[in-house]
Structures are given as C-alpha cells and as structure tokens.
C-alpha cells in the first residue's frame, strides 16, 4: 500500500534556484525519510526526521514535518545539475516492527545548467 505521495510528480528548474518537494502520508508515523535515486540506480538515504521534530537541516537540504497535516517538505537550496534525480519520501508503518518502510511514487527533479 502506498503511504507517502509526493507532489509535484515532476519539477524542472534552473541551476541556482531552490527546489521544493512535498510529501503527504496517511497514518501515524515514528519517522519520515527522504531518499534520492539517480537514473537507473539504487536509492540513497538523504535525511531522517522523527515525529517529534519539526525541522531538520543537512547541508543544502532542509526538511520540515507537520504531523498535524501528515505532510513533509524537502527543500534543496541553490540547486546544481548534479541534483537531477528522483526524490522519494518514505515512512515507517507505525508499528515499530522490522523497520519496514513505505515509499511514495517520487518527484523527478531536473536541474538545467
């Protein structure tokens, strides 16, 4: 079952601009994560935010979490062509067991030089 849904499905920007991607989910969670996938490759973990946190930073990444709205956003500042990839949010299934994740369909980001 799909828990997270990203918005927009695709985003095209110029280098130097900021990119914002949103994720909504349906059930209570313990944490939410964001992953990046370069074309045809495996996923790479970017950042994890726990349900009791509201904002987290890592380099040019800023993640917010609003548990009352069951939504999260990922902001990439000063984007680069190398940021071109698909971005996925993933949530735990709320049960705390086996560390399973539920992934959304992803946002495809294209950053043009």
């Amino acid at each position: 079952s799909q828990q997270g849904e990203e918005d927009p499905q695709a985003l095209s920007i110029q280098e130097g601009e900021n990119a914002t991607m949103n994720c909504s989910y349906k059930t209570s969670i313990n944490n939410l994560q964001w992953y990046r996938q370069n074309s045809g490759r495996g996923l790479v973990h970017l950042i994890l935010i726990r349900s009791n946190e509201r904002e987290k930073h890592s380099g040019r990444l800023r993640v917010t979490l609003d548990t009352s709205k069951k939504s999260s956003s990922l902001l990439i500042t000063a984007s680069r062509a190398a940021d071109t990839a698909s971005y996925f949010c993933a949530t735990d299934d709320g049960t705390g067991g086996y560390n399973k994740l539920i992934f959304g369909a992803g946002t495809r980001l294209a950053v043009h030089p």
């Binding site: 313990n30 994560q33 490759r41 973990h45 086996y98 560390n99 992934f103």
Partner: protein
Amino acid sequence: DVKVTQSSRYLVKRTGEKVFLECVQDMDHENMFWYRQDPGLGLRLIYFSYDVKMKEKGDIPEGYSVSREKKERFSLILESASTNQTSMYLCATNNRGSSYEQYFGPGTRLTVT
C-alpha cells in the same frame, strides 16, 4: 561503508523461466528487503526477511518466493517468469532496532520477453 550488491544489473529472461535474483550485504544487518519499482508506482515491497530462514510477505508477494540461508544473502525467485514481472528490482538492508535507514543495492533491471 555499507555495501549491498546485486547479482546482475540487467537481465533478460523468457516467459516461464525460473529466475534467481541475488542480494549480498557486508554489514551484518538482520533485515533484508526486496522491492520492485515501476514508473508512477514507487517502490513496492515484495518480501522481507528479519533473520536467517525467516521471511514475511510484503505488499505484492504473488509470483515470487525468497530464500535466506545465510545472513548476508537474500535471494528473490520468480518461479515462472511472466511479462508483467518486467521491472526494476531493488534489494535493501537495515539493522533491527536502530535507525530505520535502509541501504540499497544498485538494482536489477529485469526484462521478461
């Protein structure tokens, strides 16, 4: 660095063949997962394993089986491949009880003709 390897990057098989996809990790992680990824659907969990010889069905187990005889190795088996199993298959691992972060292999793009 965690290393998760998958036996093939690209695989072409015929309808009805038995197909083995293998995943090996070197981090002594308890949990291992098999996903398939299709455009617009994100990652869907096929099976996961939380210990040697232990397995649990994910969201879409039909047509698949798995085997985990050793902690570091988790195999996905397509008993009789069909064209609707053409997809990208991703293996992932994580440690029980710690961070939920999952570590992914590079993926196997399987085409069934």
